[in-house]
C-alpha cells in the first residue's frame, strides 16, 4: 500500500487541459448570458442523467474522474442529487419510459441551470430515432444549452465542452426564459 501510494507521487499523469471547442463556444454564446454565468461562478456541480443510453457515454463520463483527466481541477464535480446540481449532463436517446424521470429531474434542479446533451443519441435520437420506444433527442423534452457529439464522445471531447461552459464570456440576449 505504502509503495503504491509513494509511486503515485512520481510524475503527474494529468493531461494538459484541452482548449474549449470553438463550435461549442458558439452554441453556448447563443444559450447563456453573462448574468447566469456570474450567478453560477466558475465552479459547477454536475448531475448525470442516463435517459436511455447504451452506457457507452457513461463509461467515458466516468473516465473524466480518472487521474488523466481529473475533472475536479477545473472546479467541476459530479453530485448525487439534482437538487445540488448546476448542470444536468444527459445521455441517450430519451426513451418513452425515461421521459417523465428526466422531466422530474430537470424540475428538481434549482435555477439557474444548464443542460448538456452528451452523445449522438442525445442530439437527435441517433440510431434509435423513429423507434416506438424513443422520444428522440434531449431537446425534445427539456431545453438544451450545449451538445457534445460523439459515439461516445471521448473524455477529451467532453472536457472541451465542459470547459467551454466555464470559459465563454460572451453575453447573449434571449435565454432568460430557458433559465
Amino acid at each position: 500500500m505504502r509503495n503504491i501510494l509513494l509511486e503515485s507521487f512520481r510524475g503527474a499523469l494529468t493531461e494538459a487541459p484541452p482548449d474549449a471547442d470553438g463550435a461549442m463556444l458558439a452554441e453556448l454564446a447563443n444559450s447563456l448570458n453573462e448574468r447566469a454565468r456570474e450567478r453560477l461562478g466558475r465552479s459547477l456541480s454536475i448531475r448525470q442523467v442516463d435517459a436511455g443510453s447504451c452506457n457507452g457515454c457513461e463509461l467515458e463520463i466516468h473516465a473524466l474522474n480518472n487521474a488523466f483527466y481529473d475533472l475536479e481541477r477545473f472546479g467541476l464535480r459530479f453530485v448525487a442529487s439534482p437538487r445540488h446540481a448546476d448542470v444536468l449532463l444527459v445521455t441517450g436517446p430519451v426513451t418513452k419510459n425515461m421521459r417523465e424521470a428526466l422531466e422530474r429531474t430537470w424540475a428538481a434542479t434549482p435555477d439557474p441551470k444548464w443542460v448538456v446533451a452528451v452523445g449522438d443519441c442525445a442530439r437527435d435520437g441517433g440510431m434509435f430515432a423513429g423507434s416506438y420506444a424513443v422520444v428522440g433527442g434531449v431537446s425534445a423534452v427539456i431545453p438544451v444549452d450545449l451538445h457534445i457529439r460523439g459515439c461516445p464522445p471521448t473524455p477529451t471531447q467532453l472536457l472541451q465542452g465542459l470547459i467551454a461552459l466555464l470559459q465563454d464570456k460572451k453575453p447573449r440576449n434571449n435565454c432568460e426564459a430557458a433559465l
Binding site: C54, G56, A80, T95, N97
Partner: protein, 503 residues
C-alpha cells in the same frame, strides 16, 4: 437421442446454423419444460415472433444445443416459467412485445412495457393505445417493523436507470424487487428490415460496455446463416478486441467495487490501468471502445507494427501492476471485511438460471462460451477458466482478477501467431432466407444472438439475449439478509447491464 428427437420435433423446415431448429407440439414443449425444471437442460434464450415462440436449450451433459419452436395459432402458449422460473421475465417480455399469452404464467404484470409507448404489442399485432397512467404493483412483504426504500430510476451515481424497491427490517434487507425497462429502446423492432450493416451497428449499441462482444456475436450468427468463412487474421483480431474489452471492464469494475467499500486508492489505480487499455485500443483500432470495428465478414481495422508494440507495452504494464493491486486487495482487512461473505449467490441458483460470466463462475458454474462452445479462435488458444464456489463479492472479484491474467495470456498468443492476410470476406447474396445463431462470451457472460435473414439480405427477425437476463433475478436473491448499505457493493460486483437487458 438428440434434444429435438426427445421433444418429438418435426423435421426442420428450414436449415438453421450452427444449431438445429425445429417445430415441436405442445407435448414436446411440456417435455422440454420438465427437463428444464429438473435441471437436466439449461435455458439459453426464449424469444418470439408473430404467432411462434422459440426456446434455445442446452444439454450440459452432452453440450448439445437446439432451438425449439412452438406455433401459437391462438395467441397463447404454455408458459415455461410455471416450472422453470428463469423464464419468467422473458415470458412477461414476450407478452409485452408480441401479445402472445404465456398460459399459466404466475405473474400477470407487464415487464418492459410501462404503458408509455402509445402502442401495445409493438412487435406483434401492434395496436395504438393512449398512454396509460403509470401503475405497477410491487410484490408484498408483510411483517412487523418492515419499512420500504424505493430507489430510482435515476440513481445517485453515474449509472444506468432502474428502480429498486427494498423492504428492510432495520438495516437488513428482507426483499429486493427490481423494476427494469426504463432504457428500452426497441432495438429488435429497429432491426426488422434493416440491412446487415445497420443491424450490426444497432447490435453494437445494445450495451456499450460490451460493444465488441455484441458485434462479435451478431457477426458470428450472420456468418453462420450465410456460410461465410471469415479470414484467419480477422478471426484473431476479433478475439484480440474482445479480450481488450474484457480487461478494460474487469479493471474498471475491480476498482469500482473497492470504491464502493470506500477504498479509493484501488479505484484510482485501476482507473489508470483501464485508461491505458482504452488508449491502446484507440491507438490500435481507432476507437477507445472499439465500436463498429467488427462487421459481418470480418473486421474494419487492422493492427500494424506500431499497434503490436503498443499492446506489448500495455500487457507488460498490466503484468507488472496487477499482482500488486491484487495483493493490496487481499491484504487490506477493511476491504476484506466488506467483500468476504457479502452478497452470497447460492450455486444451486446459478446453475438453475444457467447464469453466465463471473457471477456464475464465482458460484461454481463452470461455463464459459469460449471454452464450452469453443468458437474460433478460442479452440486454438490455451487458457483456463477460473471457477470458485463461495459465491460472494470476494469470489466475484477474484474471478475477474484471474480472468484479466488469462486475457493477457490470450492476447500474447494472438500477437505471436497473427497471420498476414485479408480482413474481410465478401458477404454474398443468397436466394433464400437463412437462419443463424451464436453465443459469444462477453466480459459479463454469454451473449446469445439468433436471426433470420431474408433472401435480399435484410433482417426478418433478430433476437439479442444479454447475459443480464439470467443475472438480474439472482441479485434479488443474493442481496437478501445483507444490509442496505452493502447493496452498492453487491450490485457493482454483479454489474448487470440495464441497456442490454432492456434492449
Amino acid at each position: 437421442m438428440t434434444i429435438l428427437e426427445r421433444c418429438g420435433a418435426q423435421a426442420p423446415t428450414q436449415e438453421s446454423r450452427p444449431w438445429p431448429r425445429a417445430v415441436v407440439d405442445a407435448d414436446g414443449w411440456r417435455f422440454a419444460a420438465s427437463q428444464l425444471a429438473e435441471g437436466l437442460w439449461e435455458l439459453l434464450a426464449l424469444w418470439a415472433e408473430a404467432y411462434v415462440v422459440h426456446s434455445a436449450v442446452r444439454d450440459p451433459a452432452s453440450g448439445e444445443i437446439a432451438v425449439l419452436s412452438l406455433p401459437c395459432a391462438h395467441g397463447g402458449y404454455t408458459a415455461l416459467a410455471q416450472w422453470h422460473p428463469p423464464a419468467m421475465r422473458l415470458e412477461r417480455t414476450i407478452r409485452d412485445l408480441f401479445g402472445l399469452e404465456p398460459i399459466g404464467l404466475p405473474d400477470a404484470r407487464p415487464w418492459l412495457d410501462h404503458g408509455r409507448w402509445g402502442v401495445k404489442h409493438p412487435l406483434g399485432t401492434a395496436q395504438s393505445t393512449a398512454p396509460e397512467p403509470p401503475g405497477y404493483q410491487f410484490l408484498p412483504a408483510e411483517g412487523e417493523g418492515l419499512h420500504q426504500i424505493g430507489v430510482g430510476p435515476v440513481h445517485a451515481g453515474i449509472i444506468e436507470p432502474g428502480f429498486f424497491l427494498f423492504t428492510a427490517n432495520g438495516e437488513t434487507i428482507v426483499r429486493l424487487e427490481e423494476r427494469l425497462g426504463y432504457v428500452h429502446k426497441g432495438i429488435e423492432g429497429l432491426m426488422v428490415d434493416s440491412d446487415l450493416d445497420r443491424a450490426i451497428q444497432l447490435a453494437g449499441r445494445t450495451s456499450g460496455d460490451s460493444t465488441v462482444a455484441y458485434a462479435y456475436a451478431f457477426a458470428a450468427a450472420a456468418e453462420a446463416a450465410l456460410e461465410i468463412d471469415v479470414p484467419p487474421r480477422a478471426i484473431l483480431l476479433r478475439a484480440l478486441m474482445a479480450e481488450l474489452e474484457r480487461i478494460a471492464n474487469h479493471l474498471g469494475d475491480f476498482g469500482a467495487i473497492c470504491n464502493d467499500a470506500s477504498f479509493a486508492v484501488m479505484h484510482a489505480q485501476c482507473g489508470i490501468l483501464r485508461e491505458r487499455v482504452l488508449r491502446a485500443a484507440n491507438a490500435c483500432f481507432g476507437h477507445r471502445l472499439m465500436r463498429d470495428r467488427i462487421v459481418v465478414g470480418g473486421v474494419t481495422a487492422d493492427l500494424n507494427k506500431d499497434g503490436r508494440a503498443v499492446l506489448r507495452g500495455l500487457l507488460g504494464e498490466i503484468t507488472r501492476r496487477l499482482p500488486r493491486l491484487a495483493e493490496l486487495y487481499d491484504k487490506t482487512a477493511s476491504l476484506q471485511d466488506r467483500t468476504v461473505g457479502a452478497g452470497v449467490l447460492n450455486p444451486a441458483l446459478a446453475s438453475q438460471y444457467a447464469c453466465g460470466g463471473y457471477i456464475g463462475r464465482a458460484s461454481g458454474r463452470n461455463f464459459d462460451a469460449r471454452k464450452v462452445i469453443r468458437y474460433a479462435p478460442y479452440d486454438q488458444l490455451v487458457f483456463e477458466v477460473p471457477v470458485l464456489a463461495q459465491g460472494d463479492v470476494n469470489a466475484r472479484v477474484w474471478i475477474r482478477i484471474r480472468e484479466i491474467e488469462q486475457s493477457v495470456a490470450i492476447i500474447r498468443q494472438i500477437l505471436d501467431r497473427l497471420p498476414e492476410g485479408e480482413l474481410r470476406a465478401a458477404v454474398s447474396q443468397t436466394d433464400t432466407s437463412r437462419e443463424g445463431a451464436a453465443a459469444v462470451e462477453g466480459f459479463r457472460g454469454d451473449i446469445f444472438v439468433w436471426m433470420r435473414i431474408s433472401a435480399v439480405g435484410a433482417i426478418e427477425r433478430c433476437h439479442l439475449r444479454d447475459p443480464s437476463w439470467f443475472q438480474w433475478p439472482l441479485l434479488e436473491a443474493a442481496i437478501g439478509g445483507n444490509i442496505v448499505a452493502d447493496f452498492p457493493l453487491c450490485n457493482k460486483s454483479f454489474n448487470c447491464s440495464y441497456s442490454g437487458h432492456d434492449l
